[in-house]
């Protein structure tokens, strides 16, 4: 069982470039989440989705966009990369908001 799969694992971007971080899950979970984790810190919620077609902002949504066209996929888009977006990005999924979250292995993103 693959669980939550994130791609790519590592990426270096130049300031102003754009990219999409991919996340897919095969557990038929309704809820999906994107977090960023800065060095030595906890997780900050960027965006989340409660089902296909429904998304909501988290604590730090500025500079990011998401879409949820299918239950399985929840891509995160950076339109104009900035150095402040250098971080490790984690995607997670769960059956519901109080259910355990299953995390991917993360995408390490550096913006130079």
């Amino acid at each position: 069982n693959a669980g939550v799969t994130q791609t790519p694992k590592f990426r270096i971007l130049k300031i102003g470039q754009s990219m999409t971080l991919q996340c897919t899950q095969d557990m038929n979970h309704n809820y999906m989440y994107w977090y960023r984790q800065d060095p030595g810190m906890g997780l900050k919620l960027i965006y989340y989705s409660v089902g296909a077609g429904i998304t909501d902002k988290g604590e730090v949504p500025n500079g990011y966009n998401v879409s949820r066209s299918t239950t399985e996929d929840f891509p995160l888009r950076l339109e104009l990369a900035a150095p402040s977006q250098t971080s490790v990005y984690f995607c997670a999924s769960s059956y519901g908001p109080t259910q355990p979250q299953h995390f991917g292995d993360g995408t390490r993103l550096s913006i130079l």
């Binding site: 989440y33 919620l45 908001p97 109080t98 355990p100």
Partner: protein, 114 residues
């Protein structure tokens, strides 16, 4: 805004010592989850506490939910080097769009030395 504060932020101890990590908030949570994260990996759920005053044990780890459901603690007995990692608490909060979401504390980074 509902916030979860964890303390201490860092903890460095010797093998065999006991320790307690705290997760506090001014808000009431319907449930709290504890996760452990190892370097280079995503967090993994340890336990969920739901009822005020609830105590759950996972081998040498004891989790307690406060009576008022505003705080929680994690106690580790006779810590082992394998307990090293980042410990995160998380609680359910209402999002701006009206949907429930999980918010995380900043974490406690534990290092257990042989």
């Amino acid at each position: 805004t509902q916030l979860l504060e964890q303390s201490p932020q860092f903890l460095s101890i010797q093998e065999g010592e006991n320790l307690t990590v705290y997760c506090n908030s001014s808000s009431v949570f319907s449930s709290l989850q504890w996760y452990r994260q190892e370097p280079g990996e995503g967090p993994v759920l340890l336990v969920t506490v739901v009822t005020g005053g609830e105590v759950k044990k996972l081998k040498r780890l004891t989790f307690q939910f406060g009576d008022a459901r505003k705080d929680s603690s994690l106690h580790i007995t006779a810590a082992q080097p394998g307990d090293t990692g980042l410990y995160l608490c998380a609680g359910v909060a209402l999002g701006s769009g009206g949907y429930n979401k999980l918010i995380f504390g900043a974490g406690t980074r534990l290092a257990v030395h042989p």
